[in-house]
Amino acid sequence: MAQQMTGAEMVIQALIDQDVEHIFGYPGGAVLPIYDAIFQQDKVEHILVRHEQGATHMAEGYARSTGKCGVVLVTSGPGATNAVTGLADALLDSIPMVCITGQVPTPLIGSDAFQECDTVGITRNCTKHNYLVKSVEDLPRILHEAFYVATSGRPGPVVIDIPKDVQFALGSYMKPNNGSHPTYKPQMEGELEAIKMAVDMMLKAEKPVFYTGGGVVNSGPEASKELRELADLTGYPVTSTLMGLGAFPASSDQWLGMLGMHGTYEANMAMHDCDLMICVGARFDDRITGRLDGFSPNSKKIHIDIDPSSINKNIVVDLPIIGDCGLVLEEMVRIWRSRTNEPRTEAIAPWWKQINEWRDVKSLAYEKSDKVIKPQYAIERLFELTKERDVYITTEVGQHQMWAAQHFHFNEPNRWMTSGGLGTMGYGLPAAVGVQTAHRDALVIDIAGEASVQMTMQEMSTAVQYGLPIKVFILNNEYMGMVRQWQELLHGGRYSNSYSESLPDFVKMAEAFGAHGIICEDPAELDDKIMEMIDSDKPVIFDCRVTKEENCLPMIPSGKAHHEMILPDTADIGNIIDEKGKVLV
C-alpha cells in the first residue's frame, strides 16, 4: 500500500531512500514547504549556504570526493538562476547532481509572478536532463528517475522544478524501482571484439601512451585499480587530463605528469610522437589537443568512453569502445593476461629512452628565490608538508590552479576537485566546504587565487557555521594572473583591468568571519606558517604573497600543436602567438 504524504514530504522521503545524507541549499518563498519538511526530520542534514552558486559547487565537491550524487535545494527565480553556473560546471565536468528548485504555483506559471522564471527553459542546455513537475502523482517517479539519470552513464546535473502547490498536494509515494529507464540506457559493457582488437593493437605498439581523463575517476575506485594494473602489465607510460589527476599515482615511474596546455613537455611530446594512443575516459578537449590538425599526427587512436557522442567529436579515432571505462579496463587486463605474462619492456625501451630525454628538459623548473615566495615553491611546500595526511585539494581557476596541478601530486582518485571544463572562478572555496562536509576529519585545502576566491568568499561564513575547518590557501599575486599572462602573450603587456585594486586585508577578513587569518611574505617563514594553518582547528584564510608577474609555464600557446610548447627558459613570450592563434581562447 502506497504511503500518502505531501509533495514536500515526498522530496525528503525520496532523498532518504536515495541514501542522501547532506543537501546544500537556501530557502525562499517557493520552497518553504520542503524546508518545513526538513525541519521535521533529522536523517538529511541541510547545509545553509550564503549564495546558491555556493550550494552547487559544494554539491560538486561533495560528489567528486565521495562518488555520490550531490544534492542542491534552492527557491524559484533568483534561487534557480544563481544555481545556473554550478549546473553548467557540473555538466561540463560530468558531476552527478540533483538540483531541486521551487517554482511558483502551477496556476501562476507564465504570469510573470513574483520570483518566477522559466527554470526548465533556462537550465535545459546546462543540465543532462530537467523536469517541471505538474502533478504530485508524477513527483515520486521523477525524483527517483532524476537520481538515476544524474548518476548513471556519463554523470551530470539534473534539475527538478517543483511548483509550490505540488509541494503542498497530497499523493501516494512510491519507493525507487531497481534503477532502469524506458529510454535512457547507457551502454556499460564494451564490445568484446573491439576490446580484443585494442589489446592486439597494444601488443604491437612501439610508442604507446595512455591518455586518461575524468571518466576514470567517475567510473569509481575500481577503474583506477584496473588502470594501475593495466599500466603495470604493459609497462606503458601514462598521462592524464586535469580532471583525471589521481586516477594513476603520480609517484609511479610510468607517470608523465599532466598533459595539455600547461602539461609537462614529456607528456605532450609523448602524445605528439606516439604510435598508439589509448584514451580512457577523456574527451579530446581543446585544452588537451592544441591545434587539431597538428594533433598526434602519426598515431592510431583507441577511445574508451561511456558517452557515444564523445567519439569522433573533436578527433576522429581508429577504434572506439563504448562502455564504462572500469569495466572495459577490467576486460583489457583479462585479455592482455591471456595473451602474455611479460611486460613489453624490451620492445618499448627506445620509447622510454626518448621519454626520459624529454623529462630531462625539466619543463616544470622555475627560478628559485629566497627573497620572494615563488608560487610553484609555495605549492611544493604545501605538498611536502601535507602528503602524509588525509588531504583533499580543491582549486579556483587560473594560474594557481595550473601550478597546483603541476606541483601538487596525487596518488589516489577523488582527492582533486577543480573546475575543468567551464573554468569557474569561485569554485574552490565552496567545493572545499562540500568536501569537508563529507570528510569531517580530513585536511581540505582550497588552493586559491586572490581574484577567484573573492567571487564566493561569503561561503566562509557557511564553513564557520558548520565548524568545517577548510583551509583557503591564497596565492596572492595581486593580479588575475592568467588574464595578465594572456595579455602579456597577446596584447603587448597592456594589463587592462587585470590588476586587483583595493584588495581586502585577508587576515582581518578571516577574523571577521570568525576564522583564522595568516599572512606570509617570506619564503623562510613559509613552512612554519603552513604548519600553523594545518594545526588550526578553525577554517583558515592563508594570504600567501607570491611573485607578482610569474608566468605559468610550460604552455602550448593557442593555435599551436603539442611539440610547439613554450618552455620555462623562454625569455619573451610576447611574440609567439600568430594572428590565427590570437582569436582562440
Binding site: 526548465v120 527553459g121 535545459r124 542546455n125 543532462k128 536532463h129 530537467n130 517541471l132 505538474k134 539519470v149 529507464h181 524506458p182 529510454t183 535512457y184 564490445e191 571484439e193 573491439a194 582488437m197 558517452d307 557515444p308 557522442s309 567519439i311 569522433n312 567529436k313 576522429v316 579515432v317 581508429d318 577504434l319 572506439p320 569502445i321 563504448i322
Partner: protein
Amino acid sequence: MFKPSWDLERNQLVERHTLTVLVDNEPGVLARVVGLFSARGFNIESLTVSETEHDRHRSRITIVTTATPKVLAQIKLQLERLVPVHRVHDLTAEGNALERELALIKVSGKGENRVETLRLAEAFRANVVDASIESFVFEITGRPNKVEQFITLMQPLGLVEVVRTGLTAISRGKEGM
C-alpha cells in the same frame, strides 16, 4: 560500432539528410531537440512533429539537416543522448525512404491565367480546396522538389502566398522503427 572511421574525416562535402526521431511526447521535448541544434550550431532545414502513438504518448520528429558526414554522425549521437529520445534513424543513410510534403498555395488571377493555373494544377495533381472569382487555394502533396516546381510555375500566374508543412518521411518495407 568499432569500424574504423577515417572516412568521416576525408569527406568534407555537405550532405542533406533526413532524420526521424522517436521521442516521448513530454513537455519541452521539442525545445530540447531544437535547442540542441542551435546550441551546437547544427542546421535545421525542415522540421515536422506530431504525436503518433497516443496511448504511449510518443511523437515522431522528422528533421532535414545539412552537414558533413562527421557532423551528421555527431547530430545523431547527440540526439540519442537526450533522455526522452528512444531512437534516431538516418533515413537518407538507410536509403530509399518515402518522403512527402504538403503545401497550401494561394494564387489569384483572371482570364487566361486562371485557366492555365487550373491546367497545371491538374498535371501536378494539386486539389482546389478553396475558390473565389479571382483566386484559388491549392493543396499539393509530394516530394519536396515536386512542390517546389509547382510553386515556381505559379509564380508568374499570380502566386500570393505559400505554406508548407516541411518534410515527413518513413522507411519502405515491413520493418517499423
